[in-house]
């Protein structure tokens, strides 16, 4: 261990792409230091609660991680440890890591996060092309929309990632194909199930004309009842995360997936019809962008390709997907973390760009850094 040279700490600034950088640091085992996190904000400088939650989750998944905050939380130093996963004896009981994250929201949010349904139906299938397909599960134990002020829910999910491979397979996704079916989930949490029917009708009104094989399923559940202690009544509970939303996924004949997500705003005031139509248009927009991967799943796919076996993988992306801020930033960050660069060329279909990435063979091995 003493012979291992201490890798240089990578330095980043700003709160943007923080989680992506933390993930890359954990996977490559390189320590990083992020400074000036919301340092200009007077009201809430430093790390946001969800980012702290994510750091705690990383700590639960790894062994030997070191996390240091500055006094104001505007600087964080993260030295990743060994990824233990659900190995017994390292915080996992019975192959399961239980880690409580406060205020889980399972619906999509106004900040642009996707819902759990989209993760399950549009992002998890992406792993299939890398040869990771068995025992993947995302169990939604309790649904919750965003809380009253747009943050904090009471949801509960379980992610089972049972298929472990040494290295993700090299992928060649070149043809996007044509949309053959549209599926979706409409969810109502703590509100009438009629909202679902209205969402579905509006979305189908738009989509049925272009895609006859459109089915949207409905899920009605009660709102989570979370403790909300007050001074008068310490045992008080209240319902949180009421609302409804819609997640749509279009599948092409070659297996490419496009998704769209809409949820009712926490303040309310938008009828389900408008939201349903908005979601349908959003889906059509995602389909229009083209490529084999939508912008939602693109970071996952590109990251896996960069980490994969040392071979050239190719993927056709829509021009707009490739040009989006988070994909470009991912390319830069991957470069910073020592991954190989991307080569681009025009694709066969119009508005598509073929991205070729040489994997680095990082694979499924954590590296202990001391």
């Amino acid at each position: 261990m003493a012979a291992t040279p201490t890798p240089t700490t990578l330095r980043f600034t700003g709160s943007k792409h923080l989680i992506q950088r933390l993930v890359l640091a954990t996977l490559t085992g390189k320590p990083l230091r992020i400074s000036q996190i919301r340092s200009v904000s007077h009201t809430s400088p430093g790390l946001a609660p969800h980012e702290v939650s994510f750091l705690r989750l990383l700590e639960a998944l790894t062994n030997g991680s070191q996390i240091e905050f500055s006094y104001t939380g505007t600087t964080v130093l993260y030295k990743p440890g060994l990824i233990t996963g659900s190995a017994a004896g390292h915080g996992a009981q019975g192959g399961v890591i239980r880690h409580e994250v406060p205020g889980v929201i399972t619906s999509s949010t106004e900040a642009g996060d996707v819902s759990v349904d989209t993760v399950r139906t549009a992002i998890l299938p992406v792993f299939k092309s890398f040869g990771i397909e068995r025992d993947l599960e995302l169990r939604i134990l309790r649904r919750s929309n965003a809380g009253r002020d747009g943050k904090g829910g009471g949801g509960e999910v379980q992610l089972v990632f049972g298929h472990q491979v040494r290295l993700p397979r090299t992928v060649h996704l070149m043809s996007a194909g044509r949309v053959k079916r549209v599926r979706g989930v409409a969810y109502s949490t703590g509100v009438a199930g009629a909202n679902n029917a209205r969402l579905i009708e509006a979305a189908r009104g738009v989509l049925n004309v272009v895609a006859p094989d459109t089915y949207i399923f409905s899920d009605v559940s009660a709102a989570p009842f979370v403790p909300a202690p007050t001074r008068e009544n310490p045992a008080a509970k209240r319902k949180t995360g009421l609302g409804f939303g819609l997640s749509l996924v279009a599948e092409t004949n070659t297996g490419a997936l496009y998704s769209a997500d809409v949820a009712s705003p926490p303040a309310g005031g938008e009828p389900p019809e408008d939201l349903g139509r908005k979601c349908a248009f959003q889906l059509l927009e995602a389909i229009e962008q083209g490529g084999c991967v939508s912008s939602v799943a693109a970071p996952t796919l590109l990251m896996l390709m960069a980490m994969g076996s040392e071979d050239v993988g190719r993927v056709a992306l829509g021009r707009e997907v490739l040009g989006s801020e988070h994909v470009l930033q991912l390319a830069r960050d991957l470069r910073t973390f020592g991954m190989s660069g991307w080569s681009l060329r025009d694709g066969d279909e119009e508005d598509s760009v073929v991205v070729s990435i040489v994997g680095k063979g990082v694979g499924n091995v954590g590296r202990k850094i001391t």
Binding site: R120, T121, R139, I140, R183, V185, N208, F217, D219, N253
Partner: protein, 258 residues
């Protein structure tokens, strides 16, 4: 709903009336044509005969806006203009909502949804070309041949016997009948395999005599180490004699039995 029903009824009546005239006209034309063709040669009719406009309504939900459009269409009807057939699908198709239960179950389960079984077959059909087919069939043939070779020869026998030798159940305590059954089954399997090999003309490995340690002879205290002492005489069986001779031939230390 009642209002729209009433309206529809009125419209239908008018349609039927106008259709009557139209149909009569059609029939007359057809009659003329038939008569003409009987006398001369068949006519080349490239242009379709103008048919009565059809407005097919699917589903119950019929909204009055459509009705108006239909009526306005009706006003613009002319004989020599090919009418566009309008088929209107209702967005709310009651039957369409009732998706197969299993598909709902498959999609709404916690696992990522998988494609329906018929979808991949279509994809493979589209992808497969004749050259690929050929390669596929030859591969299959080779595969079968390899399987047959592996099954009938004893290339992998050593490892397989090794594997079969590991019987974790044997270590456990179990009823005698079970153990006997297991042994009998294994023996039967082995004989069947040998028989099959002989029939196929395959030479198998030699039957290895069980390398079990020689059973200790039960004898009482003070009994001789060889033979039986009965009635004041030591009786040596031929087997005992052979063993003594063998031990002498091989040398004392080697031939010692215990």
């Amino acid at each position: 709903m009642a209002v729209s029903l009433g309206k529809r009824k009125r419209r239908e009546v008018s349609t039927v009336e106008s259709e009557h005239g139209e149909l009569d006209d059609c029939d007359a034309r057809a009659l003329f044509q038939r008569a003409f063709e009987a006398k001369f040669q068949p006519l080349e009719v490239t242009e379709k005969l103008p048919s009565a406009p059809e407005t097919v309504l699917l589903g119950d939900g019929f909204d009055p806006d459509d009705e108006e459009s239909v009526i306005s269409d009706w006003g613009g009807l002319s004989d020599d203009e090919a009418q566009v057939e309008i088929v209107k699908h209702d967005a709310m198709d009651a039957a369409g909502h009732q998706l197969a239960k299993q598909e709902q179950k498959a999609f709404m389960s916690s696992k990522p949804p998988t494609a329906t079984p018929h979808a991949p077959s279509v994809a493979t059909q589209a992808a497969s070309t004749s050259a690929e087919d050929e390669a596929e069939t030859s591969n299959l043939k080779h595969d079968l041949a390899l399987q047959r070779l592996l099954k009938e020869s004893h290339l992998l026998d050593h490892s397989s016997t090794k594997n079969s030798a590991v019987v974790p159940e044997g270590k456990k305590t179990m009823p005698l009948a079970h153990r006997k059954g297991i042994k009998a089954k294994a023996a039967g399997r082995e004989t069947a395999r040998r028989k099959e090999a002989v029939e196929n003309g395959v030479i198998l490995e030699k039957v290895r005599t069980s390398a079990q340690p020689q059973k200790r002879r039960e004898r009482g205290i003070g009994a001789p180490s060889i033979g039986k002492f009965r009635g004041g005489t030591l009786k040596l069986s031929s087997h005992d004699v052979k063993s003594i001779e063998r031990s002498r031939l091989q040398g004392g230390s080697k031939g010692r039995r215990r």
